[in-house]
């Protein structure tokens, strides 16, 4: 099951991972540290709290726009299964299965 190169570590990839880990650690530790020094306004807090959802939508928008009815239908099914079951693996399997089916039909 383990294919060739599974354990490979490219120095540049490792550097990017370390940089990601660094900025993430700053965000995790920084809030509590900053709080004793400055006051985060509710206004700024409201803006920051929409960031993750907005970025996910910003990724999805152009990607789904480039797709067709098969992808849109499958995406709708993923939303439906997530809302009904809140089971990510089930939703992903349903979405991938649906896209194969819809592409075969269309």
């Amino acid at each position: 099951m383990i294919h060739e190169g599974a354990l490979a570590l490219d120095p540049l990839v490792v550097a990017v991972i370390l940089a990601m880990a660094g900025v993430t650690a700053v965000t995790k530790v920084g809030g509590l540290w900053l709080l004793s020094r400055i006051e985060v306004s509710d206004r700024l807090e409201a803006g920051l709290s929409v960031l993750p959802g907005a970025i996910v939508i910003a990724i999805l928008g152009p990607e789904l726009a480039a797709g067709g009815p098969a992808e849109w239908g499958a995406a709708g099914l993923v939303v439906l299964v997530m809302w009904r079951t809140e089971n990510i693996l089930l939703a992903l399997c349903a979405g991938v299965g649906a896209v194969v089916l819809f592409r075969a039909i269309g």
Binding site: M20, S49, A54, V56, E63, M82, V96
Partner: protein
């Protein structure tokens, strides 16, 4: 706090999974009587254990995203070891999935690091919310625990603290559970992703879009989310046409956050 309403729902949904764990909280009744601010916040093995056991059912769900991340990471060209390393050191699901979405040759380092930072900025707010309890802990325990913070175990920890428990090590214990399942699932997904031939033949090219649709379904907070999301959508579609690379992702997020700051109505 907006992010709390989301994670509040999350916590409510998880409450059935954790209600059987109500026993140990009784022993803190005496401390609670001493007042919320003056009572000590013990940091001990019992807190680690309670956090870990409470979080295991939730960590199983985190594993679902971990498998998806592992598959996507290998499809983006990362080795199993690199994918596992990213999960072990970064430990922030959505930002890792976005990073492998951005992955290309040559690696767009600035875009990846800046987007990771933007997505994870919410952790600053979440960490700050722990202040009433964490200020009783030493700096090492406080910041060490925060490194293992993820959305799920933060929500569980806030719920535990607000219920009157003062188990300082709860975030650490629940974070250990998240870490084990996240890294383990990444390895499983990465091993599996490496064995797939042509991704499109099995609809695997759709996994990434499906993961983001699922993330969006979880991040939806009701009508308050509608305006920022429409702004993000419009900005991203427009910017994807006009700008090179993947900068439209970060731009869409930042414009939506700015609009939210401007239209904020206390």
């Amino acid at each position: 706090m907006r992010s709390e309403s989301r994670t509040g729902d999350e916590a409510a949904r998880l409450s059935t999974a954790t209600s059987r764990e109500a026993g140990p909280s009784d022993e803190t009744d005496g401390e609670r009587a001493a007042g919320p601010d003056r009572a000590p916040v013990p940091f001990d093995r019992r807190g680690v254990r309670a956090g870990f056991l409470t979080c295991v059912p939730i960590a199983l769900g985190v594993g679902g995203y971990g498998i998806a991340f592992g598959v996507l990471a290998t499809q983006a060209g990362l080795s199993v070891a690199e994918a596992a390393m990213m999960s072990a050191l970064v430990l922030a699901g959505a930002s890792q999935i976005v990073a492998v979405e951005l992955w290309a040759d040559p690696i767009p380092i600035a875009a990846i690091v800046a987007t990771t930072f933007a997505i994870n900025l919410r952790y600053s707010l979440m960490g700050a919310a722990l202040q009433p309890w964490f200020r009783h802990l030493s700096a090492g325990r406080r910041y060490g625990s925060l490194l293992l913070m993820a959305d799920e175990n933060w929500a569980l920890t806030m719920r535990d603290f607000k219920a009157g428990n003062r188990r300082g090590a709860f975030l650490l214990g629940s974070g250990i559970a998240i870490w084990i399942f996240w890294v383990g699932a990444t390895i499983v997904g990465a091993l599996f992703g490496g064995t797939v031939g042509d991704p499109a033949a099995y609809g695997f090219d759709f996994i990434l879009a499906a993961v983001f649709v699922a993330l969006a379904a979880e991040l939806w907070e009701g009508r308050s989310t509608l305006v920022p999301w429409l702004v993000a959508l419009g900005t991203a579609v427009l910017a994807a046409d006009l700008l090179p690379g993947r900068w439209y992702i970060l731009l869409g997020g930042l414009v939506a956050a700015s609009v939210e700051v401007i239209r904020y109505d206390p």
